[in-house]
Every structure is written in structure tokens, then in C-alpha cells.
Symmetry: C2
Subunit: 483 residues, 2 copies
């Protein structure tokens, strides 16, 4: 508006036809004067040349990067420590984040119950190579999530190293009575490390079952990381009805390399393993829910999701404290900037993503959902690293809805919007037609920290984290207003 | 080829007209047989359906990510420690990298001399707030590169805090006799942190001169980083003829905040500063040069550049050990895969980027350049973080040459190719028509480490680093063959 008035004034001033006679001069002077006054008084916000939401997106980014509040939330959460499903720490996290949402003035902050499995690691985790030729060599191990412990005296027996279930089956009777050592590394040649993880995770999830079927006495699984270091990585494993419930134990990548080399020199060596993990009775825990209620269509919901539980090693900083921080901060940014989205933007911090996914399932099937329509769910559960893009479910129809907004994200460094989407927590919503999407950060460093004691606050970079919160705020706002 | 033969065989087998008579059956059998033989024997590489260089790019990426050799080079370099221009460590680095290039079998490995300024930090760096009300508070300081030391007894006087040179000038006579404390922070709202740096670096570069003009006794400059921590960041400062050569000293961001708050409470407080840096006589040092000589046009050169010197704090891991590792590894990947580019691909590790840029200038004006044409120079000097794109100089003509190759980089995670380019080392080549380009990694974490003691090996991520080496290898190869 200002600019338009200013140019009208200049145009009048520069147009000679206005200067051809006295009256016209007088008229032209009036026009010039009025135009300048108009230019000076017209409201500054009416600048039609800027695309919609661009100024708002810049405001959100500025506020986010100046305050870095997503990091503050991760800081608070990680002070609790690891938040294993059903642990006292998980309960404390439910309390803390629900208080946080209330303090920030979110609407309808409440807890939704979910009955979760309970597993405890126990206090003993020991591993050791014992070889006549090589002596005694300690190896770093930890129990996999859900695993039974070893007998109290531990397990002490020979080892069969394999790279796949197929290879194990070929060994036939040679596997009997042995510790089955699954040692297929993640493939470093994938650019997306999640692909490398996907190709190696069968060893952790099903290693104990396959070892059991082969007559083994324990599964010892190479940690799922691309780094060679001495931190064992935990994560969920599963048993199968009718197959012996063998102890499933993770060994650090360094330990795995040491053991593999030792086996080459002394195939008869023995490994000693001792763990004391156990499965207890299920307990009730909670999803933490808060929102900015929509001003026009409050029952139509854009959901921002992350998970509140984590593994007990480390502090669950990237997995998924980062997502929790981003989701809460996205709503905070929208709220504190006084924005009032047409549809509801809801933050859900799910319980039990890591140990069964009950939180996501119970949220989707809750009675409360019957009066609501979840249009889009956006999950952040890939670590708080530099955001690169959005995975978008719902096919071309949804992609065509989202792509026109790409100009809001490019200046923030987002590189692409691509087909994809989903996430353990929001997955169950798909059945009722919710479009699943996800924030995708860079994955190069993710598995350095994943499910191990390195996943601590110091591993999270405040700016990388905050950019994700900013992206989520803008994305959910645009969807809530324009879906 | 294999596929074509295979399909011919199948086509013959499935086509009923070949089966209509006895002779024809016999003929068809022969055709089938020959086709299968052809399918089995034809060379596998002739698969016309894949775009040029894509398979090669994948090979380079696989080898790079499997071996991670760029990191090995950074590891070797950082064992030397900081490589301040004209220091014994810089000399050791020249030796080590020249040996490395020879061991890797690069062509025409040689040193090119450059006369460089010599500055030494000295052993004393002390800072302290002294206040009747607040007591004595230590502050972390370091001399800026090129700065004279304080008098031997140190400087102990009152402080004037300013945010800009303009503000300083407004204080007029109030600045006289004081330590001028330049405390304008980097603006965190820039997505590209290099922009934030560019807007704040005047304080470091020209703070001492402006303080001198105002009658001050020293310049105390807030460290150029977006993190609040206790590591002072060094970097080049400059004096001006006719203006007193005041000591120029950097203070950590935490120290700057402490001092600023202390000044609010006690404006009369005194700061004590003591440094012992000094400027010595220039010495001769060297650029390290090696190449893969072009098979068809050896005198036409694609240059990959990085700088071998660093600041003395830290180990110069990101700045610019990372660039050195990437540049050498790019050539290694090309060489070890047996590729023979048409034009020469040359690695130049420049000396003295940080303390005057003499290496880059002397390289450009060397007699040796007269018989050569440098078509494109590509610099890597923005840290070994996740590569995001290429900055491309040379206007639309060059952009149009490069964009058709974008499909090679997208699968590696590169997001864009944009106008830009340059770098201190390669800049002087522009005068003779060389097109300047640069690898651009993510900048979020760069200034956490820049020019301070945190810039060590552990701050570099092997995969992020290697992706840059892979990008440089592919980019230089495509340019060398197709410019």
C-alpha cells in the first residue's frame, strides 16, 4: 500500500500532461500531495506483492532461532534421564511435559491412558571372551529390550558367527548349544542410514528366535551403528510362541570386531555372558495431549506427534526428546505469536513407541476420537538433526496440496518434499483416513547415538533442532488454515 | 548388451511364427541359442539406458563411504595440531601432505614457495574483571591474529562497551584511555550462519583500528560464534598506517556476557588484560600441489583447493583440515578407480589462507601458470559438514553447463546448485578467467568450532566429510571430461 501510494505520487510528478495548464498544475499538485499522504498513512501490512504466509514464516523462524526453546524442552526432559516405557522416569516425563503444556497455555491439556509392557534391565551386564590362546578379553554388551536374562550363573559356551539367518540355517546341527553371534554390519554405502538400519535390524529383532530354532543358547547381536566404538546399542527384540526364549544380547561394534578376529585365531574360544533383565506385569501409562483449538473447525485436527518414552541407556535426547521439544515448541511459537489457526493443531507425546507402540494404537482407538477428524498427522522421530524435507503420504492429491507451499520452507533450508510418511506412533491413524507425514532430518549421525548411552543432550545441536520446530510450526499452521 | 541379448532370445522363444515348420524350428533354435550366448558374452558395461556417469558416480560414492579416507587424512593432519602460518607445525604439514600425495601416486607432486608473515601468540593470555562491588572475575581471552601484545605489565583500565563503530564514535572523548569492548553478537536469525558472521566480523578485523582512532588503549572483541561458551575465538585483525597498534583481544561469548552484566552493575570496574603476542619477520613456506594429469588436454586444469594452514588454537580440523582431506581423497578416488580424466584435475593445498592469503596470490602469479589454463577452481573451506550444494561462478553460462549434471548429485543428498562461488585461496585466479566455484556444506555448527580450541578431529563426522570428498571427485571428473 505504501509503495503503491508512493509510486502514484511519483507518476503524477513525472507526467508532463499534468503540467500543461494552471488548473491542471493545481490539480496535479493536489494529486501529488494526496498521494504522498496516502503513501504515508496507508497501513504497512497491506503489501500484496508478498506471497501468503511468507512474512509469518519469517516471524516464526526469527522467534524460534532467537529463543531456541525446543532445546530448553529437551534439556528438561533429559534431566530425567532415559525414559523406558513403564519406568519411574517415564512417569516423571508424563508429569513434566503435561505441566509444560499447561504452563505454555495450550488448550485442553490432558493425559490419555495406555497399558504398556514392563521390562527392566537389571543390574548385571557382563561379557567376556575366554580363550586359552588369547586370554580373557572383556566385551561391552547390553540386554536387548524385552529379552529374558541369562541363568544366574551366566552362559559360558562356544560361539557360532553368522551374517544372516540363511547362513545360520546352513550350519544345521553345528549351531546346537552355541551362542549365535549375528555379525552382519550396517552397509555404509547407503546415503540414507535408515536404509542401512532397515537391512540389518532383523538380527536384533528376530536373532533370538532364529537362534532358538537352530538350537542355540543365546543370541549375541552386533550393535546397529555405522561407527566402530564401544557402546552397545539396545532396541526391541521379539520372541515367538513355541520357540525357546533365549537371552538376546547386544555387543558393541568394537566388541564384535574383536570377537570376530578372536574367532579367526581361536574358533574354540568361549564367551561368557551374564544379564539379569526380566519382563514384569504391564502397567498403565499415558500419552500427553495438548492443543491450540481451531477457531473455525475445532474438530478437524492437524496432529504433531513424537514419543515421550525412550530406551534406558542414554537420555533419549535425539530419540525422541528432540521430537518432543520440536512438537511442543511448534505450538508455543504459533501461540505466542498470537496466531489462531482455523483447525486444531494438536501436540501428542506418545508413550511406548519403543516397547510395543501401545500409545499410538490406544490413541487411535480411543472413544475420544469419535467426535474428531484427524486430517493430517506429522511425526518427528528421526532425531533433532538438520531438517532436509517432509515425507508426504496420501499420494499425489496430498503432494499437490503441499507443493505450492514449498516456497515457505526453501528459505529455511528445507530441500525437498517427497512421497513417503508414517511413523510408529501415528501409523494406527491411517485406518481412519488420516494422511501420514513426517519431518525428515539428515541421517548421517543418527545411528551414532541411536538406542545407546551416547544419546544425551550434548549430542543435540540447538539450531538444527530448532529449525525442525520452525518447520513443524509453519507446516501445521498452513495445513490448519488451508487443508 | 546382456539385457538386449537376453530379450532377443526370449522374443524368439515366444514368437509362434518361428515354430511353423521344421526348418524354421531348427532356425529358431539356433537363433535362441545364439542369442543366449550373445547375452552371456556381451560386455556388461554397455547399458545405454543409464545416464552418463551415473554408474561411475555410484562407484565413487560406494568406495568413498566404505573407506572413509578423507577422515584418515584429517586424522593425520590434526595429529600435527594447529598449523599457524610460518609455524613449525605448518612446515610439518607441508611435508606430510606432500608425502601423502606421493604415496597415493599423484602426478607431478611439488611445492610452490610463498613468503608468509609470521606471528606468534606467546605464552601469556590473561583476562580479569576487577570490581570493588563484584570482586575479581576471570574472563577467557586470546590474542587476535596479527595483534601486538600488551605492555609486559598488562593493561588495567576502565571499559567502554559498544555494539558498533558508529556507537563508538558517538561516545567521543569518553573512549579515551579505555578498553573498547565490542560486544555486538552474531545474529542467530540468519539460516546461513556465514551471513551472521559477515555482519559481525568488522569488530574483529577493524576493532583495534577504530579503538585506536577513538583514543582507546585496547580492543576487546566478543568472539564470533552463536554459542555461549567459554572458548575465545581468534582470527585475523588488521592495523592501519597512522593509527596506534593497540592490542586486539578476543573474549569468549560467556566472558562477554559476564562482562556486559558486570558493567551494568558497576560501570567503573576495571579489566586487566595481558598478552604476549608479537609479529616476527616473514619466512618462506609452500603450497602443496599434486594432480592427475589429463590424458588429452593436460594443460587445461580443474583445480580442487583447500588450505593447509590453520589457527593455532585447536587442530584446524574443520578449518580447513576437512577441505584438505576432501581434496586429496577426491583425487585418490578417481585414481584408484582407474579413471583417466581428459583434462588435469589438480589438488592444491594452499598455505596462509588465514594470515594474509599469500599462498593463493603467489600460486596465481607464478611463472608456472603461464603454460596452463585454469578452467574451473573449486574450493572446500566451509568445514566438513553435510554437503548441501555447489556455489557456481561464471554466470548463467557456467550454471547451464553444470545443471545438466545435477542428477549425479541428487542421489548423494546435494540439494542445489546456485550462483555464487569463490574463496580466499582461489580468488586470485579469477583475474585470468578461471571460473570460481565452491562446495557448500550445512553451516549450523560451523561457528561453534571456527578459530577456537574446539576445532579438533572429534568435531568432524567421517560420513559428512566423505560425502564432500565424493561430491568433489564427481564434480571435478565431469568437468575435466566435458568442460
Amino acid at each position: 500500500m505504501r509503495i503503491f501510494g508512493f509510486w502514484t505520487a511519483l507518476l503524477c510528478y513525472n507526467n508532463p500532461s499534468f503540467m500543461a495548464g494552471k488548473n491542471i498544475v493545481s490539480l496535479s499538485c493536489s494529486v501529488i500531495l494526496l498521494s504522498f499522504i496516502w503513501a504515508a498513512l496507508a497501513p504497512a501490512e497491506a503489501q500484496p506483492e508478498r506471497p501468503p504466509y511468507l512474512e509469518l514464516a519469517e516471524k516464526i523462524a526469527r522467534k524460534g532461532l532467537e529463543e531456541g526453546y525446543a532445546y530448553t524442552i529437551v534439556q528438561k526432559l533429559t534431566r530425567i534421564g532415559g525414559r523406558l516405557t513403564a519406568s519411574p522416569q517415564a512417569t516423571a516425563a508424563v508429569e513434566l511435559m503435561s505441566q509444560e503444556m499447561q504452563t505454555l497455555g495450550f488448550d485442553k491439556v490432558h493425559l490419555e491412558p495406555t497399558i504398556v509392557g514392563r521390562w527392566v534391565r537389571g543390574s548385571v551386564e557382563e561379557g567376556r571372551i575366554i580363550s586359552t590362546a588369547l586370554g580373557s578379553i572383556p566385551i561391552s554388551v547390553c540386554a536387548l529390550g524385552g529379552s529374558e536374562g541369562t541363568p544366574e550363573a551366566g552362559i559360558s559356551t562356544q560361539v557360532l558367527e553368522v551374517r544372516s539367518f540363511e547362513e545360520l540355517r546352513k550350519f544345521g546341527e553345528k549351531a546346537r548349544g552355541k551362542i549365535i553371534f549375528f555379525n552382519r554390519p550396517m552397509d555404509p554405502t547407503h546415503i540414507d542410514t535408515f536404509e542401512a538400519y532397515g537391512q540389518a535390524a532383523d538380527q536384533r529383532v528376530s536373532g533370538a528366535v532364529e537362534a532358538g530354532k537352530a538350537g542355540g543358547v543365546a543370541a549375541l547381536v552386533r550393535s546397529l551403528t555405522l561407527v566402530e566404538d564401544d557402546f552397545p546399542h539396545t532396541g526391541l527384540m521379539r520372541y515367538e510362541t513355541g520357540v525357546a526364549r533365549l537371552p538376546a544380547i547386544s555387543i558393541s561394534t568394537k566388541g564384535a570386531n574383536v570377537l570376530s578376529q578372536a574367532l579367526e585365531k581361536d574358533p574354540e574360544l568361549v564367551v561368557f555372558l551374564k544379564t539379569s533383565s526380566e519382563n514384569l506385569s504391564p502397567v498403565t501409562s499415558y500419552n500427553v495431549v495438548g492443543e491450540i483449538t481451531g477457531s473455525e473447525k475445532p474438530q478437524e485436527i492437524i496432529l504433531l506427534g513424537a514419543h515421550l518414552d525412550s530406551w534406558d541407556l542414554g537420555e533419549g535426547a535425539h530419540d525422541d526428546g528432540a521430537g518432543c521439544g520440536q512438537v511442543i515448541d511448534a505450538l508455543r511459537l504459533i501461540k505466542q505469536l498470537g496466531l489462531r489457526p482455523k483447525r486444531t493443531i494438536r501436540a501428542v507425546l506418545f508413550m511406548d513407541e519403543e516397547f510395543g507402540g501401545t500409545g499410538g494404537r490406544d490413541y487411535a482407538r480411543s472413544e475420544l476420537r469419535k467426535a474428531e477428524t484427524h486430517l493430517v498427522a506429522i511425526e518427528s522421530d528421526r532425531g533433532g538433526f538438520l531438517p532436509l524435507g517432509f515425507d508426504i503420504g496420501g499420494g499425489d492429491a496430498m503432494l499437490n496440496k503441499v507443493r505450492p507451499w514449498e516456497y515457505l520452507f526453501k528459505p529455511l533450508g528445507l530441500c525437498w518434499i517427497r512421497p513417503g510418511g508414517g511413523g510408529v506412533d501415528i501409523g494406527p491413524l491411517a485406518a481412519s483416513g488420516t494422511i501420514l507425514t513426517g519431518l525428515v532430518p539428515d541421517s548421517q549421525r543418527y545411528y551414532d547415538f541411536h538406542h545407546c548411552s551416547r544419546d544425551v543432550l550434548e549430542a543435540v545441536h540447538p539450531r538444527e533442532l530448532e529449525l525442525g520446530a520452525v518447520d513443524l510450526a509453519i507446516f501445521s499452521l498452513v495445513l490448519a488454515d488451508n487443508f
